[in-house]
Symmetry: C2
Subunit: 288 residues, 2 copies
Protein backbone atom coordinates (compact mmCIF):
# COMPACT_ATOMS: atom_id res chain seq x y z
CA UNK A 1 0.00 0.00 0.00
CA UNK A 2 2.63 2.55 1.11
CA UNK A 3 5.15 1.32 -1.48
CA UNK A 4 2.52 1.43 -4.25
CA UNK A 5 1.58 4.96 -3.31
CA UNK A 6 5.23 6.07 -3.09
CA UNK A 7 5.88 4.66 -6.58
CA UNK A 8 2.80 6.48 -7.86
CA UNK A 9 4.01 9.74 -6.30
CA UNK A 10 7.50 9.25 -7.76
CA UNK A 11 6.06 8.82 -11.25
CA UNK A 12 3.63 11.72 -10.94
CA UNK A 13 6.14 14.23 -9.52
CA UNK A 14 8.75 13.26 -12.10
CA UNK A 15 6.17 13.96 -14.82
CA UNK A 16 5.40 17.34 -13.22
CA UNK A 17 9.11 18.25 -13.04
CA UNK A 18 9.66 17.10 -16.64
CA UNK A 19 6.72 19.23 -17.77
CA UNK A 20 8.06 22.25 -15.91
CA UNK A 21 11.37 21.89 -17.75
CA UNK A 22 9.90 21.16 -21.18
CA UNK A 23 9.94 23.95 -23.80
CA UNK A 24 12.90 25.67 -22.16
CA UNK A 25 16.04 26.78 -24.04
CA UNK A 26 18.00 23.65 -25.03
CA UNK A 27 21.27 24.42 -23.29
CA UNK A 28 23.67 22.50 -21.02
CA UNK A 29 22.07 24.48 -18.17
CA UNK A 30 18.60 23.04 -18.85
CA UNK A 31 20.11 19.58 -19.36
CA UNK A 32 21.86 19.78 -15.98
CA UNK A 33 18.63 20.93 -14.30
CA UNK A 34 16.76 17.93 -15.74
CA UNK A 35 19.59 15.62 -14.66
CA UNK A 36 19.52 16.97 -11.10
CA UNK A 37 15.75 16.38 -10.97
CA UNK A 38 16.04 12.65 -11.71
CA UNK A 39 15.59 9.97 -9.07
CA UNK A 40 15.51 10.31 -5.33
CA UNK A 41 13.04 8.90 -2.86
CA UNK A 42 10.59 11.80 -3.36
CA UNK A 43 9.74 11.67 0.32
CA UNK A 44 9.11 15.43 0.36
CA UNK A 45 6.69 15.21 -2.59
CA UNK A 46 4.97 12.30 -0.83
CA UNK A 47 4.50 14.43 2.29
CA UNK A 48 3.00 17.26 0.22
CA UNK A 49 0.50 15.02 -1.55
CA UNK A 50 -0.48 13.05 1.57
CA UNK A 51 -0.68 16.24 3.65
CA UNK A 52 -3.04 17.55 0.96
CA UNK A 53 -5.06 14.32 0.97
CA UNK A 54 -5.82 14.41 4.69
CA UNK A 55 -7.41 17.81 3.95
CA UNK A 56 -9.51 16.42 1.10
CA UNK A 57 -7.37 17.83 -1.73
CA UNK A 58 -6.72 15.74 -4.85
CA UNK A 59 -3.15 15.17 -6.07
CA UNK A 60 -3.69 17.56 -9.01
CA UNK A 61 -4.43 20.42 -6.60
CA UNK A 62 -1.07 20.03 -4.84
CA UNK A 63 1.16 18.54 -7.56
CA UNK A 64 3.01 21.78 -8.33
CA UNK A 65 3.84 22.21 -4.64
CA UNK A 66 5.19 18.64 -4.64
CA UNK A 67 7.31 19.41 -7.71
CA UNK A 68 8.41 22.71 -6.15
CA UNK A 69 9.77 21.10 -3.00
CA UNK A 70 11.66 18.50 -5.06
CA UNK A 71 13.12 21.24 -7.32
CA UNK A 72 14.21 23.13 -4.23
CA UNK A 73 15.69 19.98 -2.68
CA UNK A 74 17.53 19.28 -5.95
CA UNK A 75 19.01 22.81 -5.94
CA UNK A 76 20.28 22.33 -2.40
CA UNK A 77 21.94 19.01 -3.32
CA UNK A 78 23.64 20.43 -6.43
CA UNK A 79 25.16 23.30 -4.44
CA UNK A 80 25.91 21.13 -1.40
CA UNK A 81 27.90 18.66 -3.54
CA UNK A 82 30.20 21.38 -4.94
CA UNK A 83 33.95 21.24 -4.21
CA UNK A 84 33.85 24.26 -1.87
CA UNK A 85 30.96 22.69 0.07
CA UNK A 86 30.78 18.91 0.77
CA UNK A 87 32.84 18.00 -2.32
CA UNK A 88 30.81 14.92 -3.26
CA UNK A 89 31.32 13.22 -6.62
CA UNK A 90 28.46 10.74 -6.30
CA UNK A 91 24.75 11.40 -5.75
CA UNK A 92 21.91 8.92 -6.15
CA UNK A 93 24.52 6.58 -7.65
CA UNK A 94 25.42 9.04 -10.44
CA UNK A 95 28.19 11.62 -10.93
CA UNK A 96 27.26 14.96 -9.35
CA UNK A 97 26.52 17.96 -11.59
CA UNK A 98 29.90 19.67 -11.15
CA UNK A 99 31.62 16.39 -12.04
CA UNK A 100 29.46 15.62 -15.09
CA UNK A 101 29.52 19.25 -16.27
CA UNK A 102 31.56 21.82 -14.34
CA UNK A 103 31.32 24.17 -11.35
CA UNK A 104 29.77 27.00 -13.34
CA UNK A 105 26.95 24.73 -14.47
CA UNK A 106 26.47 23.52 -10.89
CA UNK A 107 26.15 27.09 -9.56
CA UNK A 108 23.75 28.17 -12.31
CA UNK A 109 21.66 24.96 -12.41
CA UNK A 110 21.21 25.17 -8.64
CA UNK A 111 20.27 28.85 -8.90
CA UNK A 112 17.73 28.17 -11.63
CA UNK A 113 16.25 25.18 -9.76
CA UNK A 114 15.58 27.41 -6.78
CA UNK A 115 13.85 29.90 -9.10
CA UNK A 116 11.86 27.03 -10.65
CA UNK A 117 10.61 26.02 -7.20
CA UNK A 118 9.09 29.47 -6.64
CA UNK A 119 7.72 29.54 -10.18
CA UNK A 120 5.94 26.23 -9.51
CA UNK A 121 4.34 27.63 -6.34
CA UNK A 122 2.49 30.16 -8.54
CA UNK A 123 0.57 27.49 -10.51
CA UNK A 124 -3.09 28.59 -10.65
CA UNK A 125 -4.16 24.89 -10.50
CA UNK A 126 -3.39 25.07 -6.76
CA UNK A 127 -6.32 27.38 -6.08
CA UNK A 128 -6.82 30.89 -4.68
CA UNK A 129 -3.96 33.41 -4.87
CA UNK A 130 -4.16 33.91 -1.06
CA UNK A 131 -3.13 30.28 -0.51
CA UNK A 132 -0.42 30.29 -3.17
CA UNK A 133 1.24 33.44 -1.86
CA UNK A 134 1.21 31.89 1.62
CA UNK A 135 2.89 28.83 0.13
CA UNK A 136 5.61 31.02 -1.43
CA UNK A 137 6.17 32.79 1.89
CA UNK A 138 6.39 29.47 3.76
CA UNK A 139 8.83 28.01 1.24
CA UNK A 140 11.00 31.13 1.47
CA UNK A 141 11.06 30.98 5.27
CA UNK A 142 11.84 27.25 5.28
CA UNK A 143 14.67 27.43 2.77
CA UNK A 144 16.35 30.76 3.43
CA UNK A 145 18.54 32.44 6.01
CA UNK A 146 16.45 31.12 8.90
CA UNK A 147 15.86 27.65 7.47
CA UNK A 148 17.80 25.30 5.20
CA UNK A 149 20.61 27.63 4.14
CA UNK A 150 21.13 28.62 7.78
CA UNK A 151 21.52 24.92 8.63
CA UNK A 152 23.98 24.42 5.77
CA UNK A 153 26.06 27.34 7.03
CA UNK A 154 26.05 25.90 10.57
CA UNK A 155 27.14 22.55 9.13
CA UNK A 156 30.11 24.07 7.30
CA UNK A 157 31.03 26.19 10.34
CA UNK A 158 30.99 23.05 12.50
CA UNK A 159 33.79 21.58 10.38
CA UNK A 160 36.16 24.37 11.32
CA UNK A 161 34.96 24.68 14.93
CA UNK A 162 37.87 22.59 16.22
CA UNK A 163 35.56 20.46 18.40
CA UNK A 164 32.64 18.10 17.70
CA UNK A 165 29.13 19.54 18.10
CA UNK A 166 26.98 18.83 21.14
CA UNK A 167 23.67 17.01 20.84
CA UNK A 168 21.84 20.33 21.21
CA UNK A 169 23.89 21.96 18.46
CA UNK A 170 23.52 19.06 16.05
CA UNK A 171 19.76 19.04 16.66
CA UNK A 172 19.54 22.78 15.88
CA UNK A 173 21.67 22.26 12.78
CA UNK A 174 19.40 19.44 11.58
CA UNK A 175 16.23 21.45 12.26
CA UNK A 176 17.51 23.95 9.70
CA UNK A 177 19.40 21.87 7.20
CA UNK A 178 16.84 19.11 6.57
CA UNK A 179 14.04 19.71 9.08
CA UNK A 180 12.66 23.02 7.82
CA UNK A 181 11.91 21.70 4.34
CA UNK A 182 10.33 18.52 5.68
CA UNK A 183 8.07 20.68 7.85
CA UNK A 184 7.22 22.81 4.82
CA UNK A 185 6.43 19.69 2.78
CA UNK A 186 4.09 18.31 5.41
CA UNK A 187 2.39 21.67 6.00
CA UNK A 188 1.89 22.55 2.33
CA UNK A 189 -1.41 20.65 2.12
CA UNK A 190 -2.76 22.47 5.17
CA UNK A 191 -1.69 25.80 3.66
CA UNK A 192 -3.42 25.01 0.35
CA UNK A 193 -6.55 23.89 2.23
CA UNK A 194 -6.51 26.94 4.54
CA UNK A 195 -6.47 24.56 7.53
CA UNK A 196 -4.66 24.43 10.90
CA UNK A 197 -1.00 23.54 10.30
CA UNK A 198 -0.15 22.54 13.88
CA UNK A 199 -0.72 18.76 13.74
CA UNK A 200 1.29 18.27 10.52
CA UNK A 201 3.98 20.55 11.91
CA UNK A 202 4.36 18.37 15.01
CA UNK A 203 4.41 15.27 12.80
CA UNK A 204 7.07 16.71 10.51
CA UNK A 205 9.33 18.02 13.27
CA UNK A 206 9.56 14.54 14.77
CA UNK A 207 9.84 12.92 11.35
CA UNK A 208 12.60 15.27 10.20
CA UNK A 209 14.75 14.52 13.22
CA UNK A 210 14.13 10.76 12.84
CA UNK A 211 15.11 11.08 9.19
CA UNK A 212 18.45 12.71 10.03
CA UNK A 213 19.22 10.17 12.75
CA UNK A 214 18.46 7.40 10.24
CA UNK A 215 20.81 9.11 7.75
CA UNK A 216 23.61 9.10 10.30
CA UNK A 217 22.93 5.41 11.03
CA UNK A 218 23.12 4.65 7.29
CA UNK A 219 26.35 6.64 7.00
CA UNK A 220 27.76 4.36 9.70
CA UNK A 221 26.32 1.02 8.62
CA UNK A 222 25.10 1.46 5.02
CA UNK A 223 26.28 -0.14 1.79
CA UNK A 224 27.58 2.36 -0.79
CA UNK A 225 26.00 0.41 -3.64
CA UNK A 226 22.60 0.57 -1.96
CA UNK A 227 22.74 4.12 -0.58
CA UNK A 228 24.15 5.48 -3.87
CA UNK A 229 26.49 7.82 -2.02
CA UNK A 230 29.74 7.65 -0.11
CA UNK A 231 29.38 6.13 3.36
CA UNK A 232 31.51 6.57 6.46
CA UNK A 233 32.31 10.11 5.33
CA UNK A 234 31.19 11.87 8.49
CA UNK A 235 32.87 9.37 10.80
CA UNK A 236 36.11 9.60 8.76
CA UNK A 237 35.98 13.40 9.04
CA UNK A 238 35.65 13.17 12.83
CA UNK A 239 32.30 15.01 12.65
CA UNK A 240 29.80 14.60 15.45
CA UNK A 241 26.74 12.62 14.37
CA UNK A 242 23.72 11.30 16.26
CA UNK A 243 25.50 7.91 16.21
CA UNK A 244 28.74 9.27 17.66
CA UNK A 245 26.78 11.15 20.33
CA UNK A 246 24.14 8.55 21.26
CA UNK A 247 25.80 5.31 20.18
CA UNK A 248 24.29 3.09 17.49
CA UNK A 249 21.63 1.56 19.76
CA UNK A 250 20.84 4.87 21.41
CA UNK A 251 20.36 6.48 18.00
CA UNK A 252 18.11 3.66 16.85
CA UNK A 253 16.00 3.93 20.03
CA UNK A 254 15.68 7.72 19.68
CA UNK A 255 14.61 7.40 16.04
CA UNK A 256 11.95 4.82 16.97
CA UNK A 257 10.65 7.09 19.74
CA UNK A 258 10.39 10.00 17.28
CA UNK A 259 8.42 7.86 14.84
CA UNK A 260 5.92 7.20 17.66
CA UNK A 261 5.70 10.93 18.36
CA UNK A 262 5.13 11.62 14.68
CA UNK A 263 2.32 9.08 14.47
CA UNK A 264 0.66 10.43 17.62
CA UNK A 265 0.48 13.88 16.04
CA UNK A 266 -1.61 12.48 13.19
CA UNK A 267 -4.49 11.50 15.45
CA UNK A 268 -6.87 14.28 14.23
CA UNK A 269 -6.81 12.84 10.69
CA UNK A 270 -7.81 9.27 11.53
CA UNK A 271 -7.33 6.62 8.85
CA UNK A 272 -6.76 9.15 6.05
CA UNK A 273 -3.27 9.64 7.52
CA UNK A 274 -2.26 5.97 7.30
CA UNK A 275 0.15 6.65 4.45
CA UNK A 276 1.84 9.36 6.53
CA UNK A 277 2.17 6.87 9.41
CA UNK A 278 3.71 4.34 7.03
CA UNK A 279 6.10 7.03 5.76
CA UNK A 280 7.31 7.65 9.30
CA UNK A 281 8.04 3.94 9.76
CA UNK A 282 9.71 3.82 6.31
CA UNK A 283 12.06 6.66 7.22
CA UNK A 284 13.85 4.62 9.88
CA UNK A 285 13.60 1.27 8.05
CA UNK A 286 15.00 2.41 4.68
CA UNK A 287 18.34 1.18 3.37
CA UNK A 288 19.12 4.23 1.22
Amino acid sequence: MFETRLTEVQRAVQAALDASLANRPETPLTEAMRYACQGGKRLRAFLVLEGARVHGLADAQAMSAAAAIEALHAYSLVHDDMPCMDDDDLRRGQPTVHVKWDEVTAVLAGDALQTLAFELCCDPAMGPAERRIELVAALARASGVEGMVHGQALDIAAESAGRPLTLEEITALQAGKTGALIVFAAEAGAILAGADRAPLRRYAQALGLAFQIADDILDETGDEEVTGKRVGKDADAGKATFVSLLGLEGAQARAAELVHEACDALEPYGATADNLRAAARFVIARKN
Copy 2:
Protein backbone atom coordinates in the same frame (compact mmCIF):
# COMPACT_ATOMS: atom_id res chain seq x y z
CA MET B 1 15.33 66.52 -9.54
CA PHE B 2 16.35 63.07 -10.87
CA GLU B 3 19.47 62.94 -8.69
CA THR B 4 17.45 63.97 -5.60
CA ARG B 5 14.89 61.27 -6.30
CA LEU B 6 17.59 58.64 -6.95
CA THR B 7 19.25 59.49 -3.64
CA GLU B 8 15.87 59.23 -1.90
CA VAL B 9 15.28 55.82 -3.51
CA GLN B 10 18.75 54.63 -2.52
CA ARG B 11 18.14 55.54 1.11
CA ALA B 12 14.64 54.06 1.21
CA VAL B 13 15.54 50.76 -0.44
CA GLN B 14 18.60 50.37 1.76
CA ALA B 15 16.37 50.81 4.80
CA ALA B 16 13.95 48.20 3.42
CA LEU B 17 16.79 45.73 2.79
CA ASP B 18 18.25 46.39 6.25
CA ALA B 19 14.84 45.79 7.83
CA SER B 20 14.41 42.53 5.92
CA LEU B 21 17.74 41.30 7.28
CA ALA B 22 17.21 42.51 10.86
CA ASN B 23 16.32 39.93 13.53
CA ARG B 24 17.95 37.10 11.59
CA PRO B 25 20.46 34.64 13.08
CA GLU B 26 23.74 36.51 13.70
CA THR B 27 26.05 34.39 11.57
CA PRO B 28 28.74 35.10 8.95
CA LEU B 29 26.05 34.13 6.40
CA THR B 30 23.74 36.96 7.48
CA GLU B 31 26.70 39.34 7.68
CA ALA B 32 27.72 38.47 4.11
CA MET B 33 24.14 38.97 2.90
CA ARG B 34 24.04 42.45 4.47
CA TYR B 35 27.44 43.26 2.98
CA ALA B 36 26.30 42.20 -0.50
CA CYS B 37 23.22 44.43 -0.17
CA GLN B 38 25.26 47.61 0.41
CA GLY B 39 25.74 50.27 -2.24
CA GLY B 40 25.03 50.12 -5.93
CA LYS B 41 23.18 52.58 -8.10
CA ARG B 42 19.75 51.09 -7.20
CA LEU B 43 18.59 51.72 -10.74
CA ARG B 44 16.33 48.65 -10.58
CA ALA B 45 14.68 49.84 -7.36
CA PHE B 46 14.25 53.27 -8.96
CA LEU B 47 12.47 51.67 -11.93
CA VAL B 48 10.13 49.77 -9.60
CA LEU B 49 9.16 52.85 -7.58
CA GLU B 50 8.80 55.14 -10.60
CA GLY B 51 6.90 52.46 -12.55
CA ALA B 52 4.58 52.27 -9.53
CA ARG B 53 4.25 56.07 -9.37
CA VAL B 54 3.05 56.45 -12.97
CA HIS B 55 0.21 54.11 -11.92
CA GLY B 56 -0.63 56.21 -8.86
CA LEU B 57 1.00 53.89 -6.29
CA ALA B 58 2.89 55.37 -3.35
CA ASP B 59 6.46 54.22 -2.61
CA ALA B 60 5.29 52.24 0.43
CA GLN B 61 3.03 50.10 -1.77
CA ALA B 62 5.95 48.99 -3.95
CA MET B 63 8.93 49.22 -1.59
CA SER B 64 9.20 45.47 -0.97
CA ALA B 65 9.26 44.84 -4.73
CA ALA B 66 12.07 47.40 -5.01
CA ALA B 67 13.99 45.65 -2.21
CA ALA B 68 13.26 42.26 -3.81
CA ILE B 69 14.79 43.18 -7.16
CA GLU B 70 17.89 44.58 -5.43
CA ALA B 71 18.24 41.41 -3.31
CA LEU B 72 17.94 39.32 -6.44
CA HIS B 73 20.46 41.51 -8.26
CA ALA B 74 22.84 41.19 -5.28
CA TYR B 75 22.55 37.39 -5.36
CA SER B 76 23.43 37.34 -9.07
CA LEU B 77 26.50 39.51 -8.47
CA VAL B 78 27.77 37.39 -5.56
CA HIS B 79 27.56 34.20 -7.64
CA ASP B 80 28.81 35.90 -10.82
CA ASP B 81 31.94 37.13 -9.03
CA MET B 82 32.93 33.63 -7.85
CA PRO B 83 36.21 32.08 -9.07
CA CYS B 84 34.46 29.50 -11.27
CA MET B 85 32.37 32.27 -12.87
CA ASP B 86 33.83 35.73 -13.67
CA ASP B 87 36.46 35.53 -10.91
CA ASP B 88 36.19 39.15 -9.81
CA ASP B 89 37.83 40.33 -6.59
CA LEU B 90 36.40 43.85 -6.61
CA ARG B 91 32.74 44.96 -6.68
CA ARG B 92 31.42 48.46 -6.01
CA GLY B 93 34.99 49.29 -4.92
CA GLN B 94 35.01 46.63 -2.19
CA PRO B 95 36.35 43.05 -1.97
CA THR B 96 33.81 40.55 -3.31
CA VAL B 97 32.09 38.13 -0.89
CA HIS B 98 34.24 35.10 -1.71
CA VAL B 99 37.36 37.22 -1.16
CA LYS B 100 36.19 38.79 2.11
CA TRP B 101 34.75 35.47 3.39
CA ASP B 102 35.14 32.33 1.28
CA GLU B 103 33.49 30.44 -1.57
CA VAL B 104 31.10 28.55 0.69
CA THR B 105 29.78 31.81 2.10
CA ALA B 106 29.45 33.22 -1.43
CA VAL B 107 27.39 30.22 -2.58
CA LEU B 108 25.13 30.28 0.49
CA ALA B 109 24.75 34.07 0.75
CA GLY B 110 23.77 34.19 -2.93
CA ASP B 111 21.31 31.34 -2.43
CA ALA B 112 19.72 33.02 0.59
CA LEU B 113 19.54 36.40 -1.16
CA GLN B 114 17.55 34.80 -3.97
CA THR B 115 15.20 33.31 -1.37
CA LEU B 116 14.93 36.71 0.34
CA ALA B 117 13.84 38.28 -2.95
CA PHE B 118 10.88 35.91 -3.19
CA GLU B 119 10.08 36.37 0.49
CA LEU B 120 9.92 40.14 -0.04
CA CYS B 121 7.47 39.72 -2.93
CA CYS B 122 4.98 38.23 -0.42
CA ASP B 123 4.75 41.42 1.67
CA PRO B 124 1.03 42.10 2.33
CA ALA B 125 1.76 45.88 2.21
CA MET B 126 1.87 45.48 -1.58
CA GLY B 127 -1.84 44.76 -1.82
CA PRO B 128 -4.06 41.91 -3.03
CA ALA B 129 -2.66 38.37 -3.12
CA GLU B 130 -3.54 38.14 -6.85
CA ARG B 131 -1.08 40.92 -7.65
CA ARG B 132 1.66 39.61 -5.36
CA ILE B 133 1.55 36.09 -6.78
CA GLU B 134 1.75 37.58 -10.27
CA LEU B 135 4.82 39.51 -9.11
CA VAL B 136 6.42 36.28 -7.85
CA ALA B 137 5.69 34.55 -11.16
CA ALA B 138 7.13 37.47 -13.14
CA LEU B 139 10.29 37.58 -11.01
CA ALA B 140 10.77 33.82 -11.42
CA ARG B 141 10.39 34.05 -15.20
CA ALA B 142 12.76 37.03 -15.44
CA SER B 143 15.49 35.52 -13.30
CA GLY B 144 15.39 31.79 -14.08
CA VAL B 145 16.25 29.38 -16.87
CA GLU B 146 14.62 31.60 -19.50
CA GLY B 147 15.85 34.90 -18.09
CA MET B 148 18.90 36.06 -16.19
CA VAL B 149 20.49 32.68 -15.43
CA HIS B 150 20.01 31.67 -19.07
CA GLY B 151 21.92 34.82 -20.07
CA GLN B 152 24.69 34.07 -17.57
CA ALA B 153 25.04 30.56 -19.01
CA LEU B 154 25.22 31.95 -22.57
CA ASP B 155 27.89 34.40 -21.39
CA ILE B 156 30.06 31.65 -19.91
CA ALA B 157 29.52 29.44 -22.97
CA ALA B 158 30.64 32.32 -25.21
CA GLU B 159 34.03 32.32 -23.51
CA SER B 160 34.76 28.78 -24.66
CA ALA B 161 33.08 29.14 -28.06
CA GLY B 162 36.43 29.73 -29.81
CA ARG B 163 35.05 32.75 -31.70
CA PRO B 164 33.63 36.14 -30.71
CA LEU B 165 29.83 36.44 -30.62
CA THR B 166 27.87 38.14 -33.39
CA LEU B 167 25.80 41.26 -32.73
CA GLU B 168 22.63 39.14 -32.76
CA GLU B 169 24.08 36.67 -30.23
CA ILE B 170 25.36 39.35 -27.89
CA THR B 171 21.97 41.10 -28.01
CA ALA B 172 20.20 37.84 -27.09
CA LEU B 173 22.71 37.25 -24.28
CA GLN B 174 22.12 40.74 -22.89
CA ALA B 175 18.35 40.41 -23.11
CA GLY B 176 18.68 37.52 -20.66
CA LYS B 177 21.61 38.46 -18.48
CA THR B 178 20.69 42.05 -17.63
CA GLY B 179 17.61 42.85 -19.75
CA ALA B 180 15.06 40.49 -18.20
CA LEU B 181 15.45 41.90 -14.68
CA ILE B 182 15.33 45.49 -15.91
CA VAL B 183 12.08 44.66 -17.70
CA PHE B 184 10.74 43.06 -14.51
CA ALA B 185 11.73 46.14 -12.49
CA ALA B 186 9.95 48.52 -14.84
CA GLU B 187 6.85 46.29 -15.11
CA ALA B 188 6.48 45.62 -11.38
CA GLY B 189 4.47 48.80 -10.78
CA ALA B 190 2.07 47.89 -13.58
CA ILE B 191 1.69 44.39 -12.12
CA LEU B 192 0.94 45.78 -8.65
CA ALA B 193 -1.56 48.24 -10.13
CA GLY B 194 -3.20 45.59 -12.32
CA ALA B 195 -2.47 47.78 -15.37
CA ASP B 196 -1.24 47.17 -18.93
CA ARG B 197 2.47 46.30 -18.86
CA ALA B 198 3.19 46.93 -22.56
CA PRO B 199 4.44 50.56 -22.45
CA LEU B 200 6.84 49.97 -19.55
CA ARG B 201 8.00 46.74 -21.20
CA ARG B 202 8.92 48.63 -24.40
CA TYR B 203 10.66 51.29 -22.31
CA ALA B 204 12.65 48.74 -20.34
CA GLN B 205 13.68 46.63 -23.31
CA ALA B 206 15.26 49.69 -24.95
CA LEU B 207 16.69 50.89 -21.63
CA GLY B 208 18.22 47.49 -20.79
CA LEU B 209 20.05 47.29 -24.09
CA ALA B 210 21.26 50.90 -23.76
CA PHE B 211 22.45 50.05 -20.24
CA GLN B 212 24.55 47.13 -21.48
CA ILE B 213 26.02 49.12 -24.35
CA ALA B 214 26.94 51.86 -21.85
CA ASP B 215 28.55 49.19 -19.63
CA ASP B 216 30.69 48.02 -22.54
CA ILE B 217 31.67 51.62 -23.27
CA LEU B 218 32.66 52.10 -19.61
CA ASP B 219 34.64 48.85 -19.68
CA GLU B 220 36.58 50.34 -22.62
CA THR B 221 36.95 53.93 -21.47
CA GLY B 222 36.16 53.99 -17.74
CA ASP B 223 38.34 54.79 -14.74
CA GLU B 224 38.70 51.90 -12.27
CA GLU B 225 38.56 54.28 -9.32
CA VAL B 226 35.27 55.73 -10.52
CA THR B 227 33.61 52.52 -11.79
CA GLY B 228 34.64 50.58 -8.66
CA LYS B 229 35.44 47.49 -10.73
CA ARG B 230 38.15 46.23 -13.05
CA VAL B 231 38.03 47.84 -16.49
CA GLY B 232 39.33 46.58 -19.83
CA LYS B 233 38.57 43.01 -18.70
CA ASP B 234 36.38 42.07 -21.63
CA ALA B 235 38.68 43.59 -24.21
CA ASP B 236 41.69 41.88 -22.61
CA ALA B 237 39.84 38.56 -22.74
CA GLY B 238 39.15 39.03 -26.47
CA LYS B 239 35.39 38.91 -25.80
CA ALA B 240 33.01 40.48 -28.26
CA THR B 241 31.33 43.59 -26.83
CA PHE B 242 29.03 46.20 -28.35
CA VAL B 243 32.12 48.40 -28.65
CA SER B 244 34.19 45.77 -30.47
CA LEU B 245 31.27 45.07 -32.80
CA LEU B 246 29.98 48.61 -33.46
CA GLY B 247 33.05 50.72 -32.73
CA LEU B 248 33.07 53.30 -29.92
CA GLU B 249 31.14 55.93 -31.88
CA GLY B 250 28.72 53.39 -33.32
CA ALA B 251 28.01 52.06 -29.82
CA GLN B 252 27.47 55.58 -28.47
CA ALA B 253 25.08 56.39 -31.34
CA ARG B 254 23.11 53.14 -30.85
CA ALA B 255 22.79 53.79 -27.10
CA ALA B 256 21.49 57.32 -27.73
CA GLU B 257 18.96 55.97 -30.25
CA LEU B 258 17.73 53.42 -27.69
CA VAL B 259 17.27 56.15 -25.09
CA HIS B 260 15.00 57.97 -27.56
CA GLU B 261 13.04 54.76 -28.13
CA ALA B 262 12.70 54.28 -24.37
CA CYS B 263 11.38 57.81 -23.86
CA ASP B 264 8.90 57.46 -26.74
CA ALA B 265 7.40 54.41 -25.04
CA LEU B 266 6.55 56.53 -21.99
CA GLU B 267 4.15 58.78 -23.90
CA PRO B 268 0.96 57.34 -22.29
CA TYR B 269 2.14 58.49 -18.83
CA GLY B 270 2.76 62.16 -19.65
CA ALA B 271 4.72 64.22 -17.15
CA THR B 272 4.43 61.60 -14.36
CA ALA B 273 7.11 59.65 -16.26
CA ASP B 274 9.69 62.45 -16.27
CA ASN B 275 11.89 60.65 -13.75
CA LEU B 276 11.86 57.54 -15.94
CA ARG B 277 12.91 59.70 -18.90
CA ALA B 278 15.74 61.17 -16.82
CA ALA B 279 16.80 57.65 -15.80
CA ALA B 280 17.12 56.67 -19.45
CA ARG B 281 19.38 59.64 -20.11
CA PHE B 282 21.36 58.89 -16.93
CA VAL B 283 22.03 55.34 -18.04
CA ILE B 284 24.18 56.43 -20.96
CA ALA B 285 25.71 59.46 -19.24
CA ARG B 286 26.87 57.71 -16.03
CA LYS B 287 30.54 57.26 -15.22
CA ASN B 288 30.15 54.10 -13.08
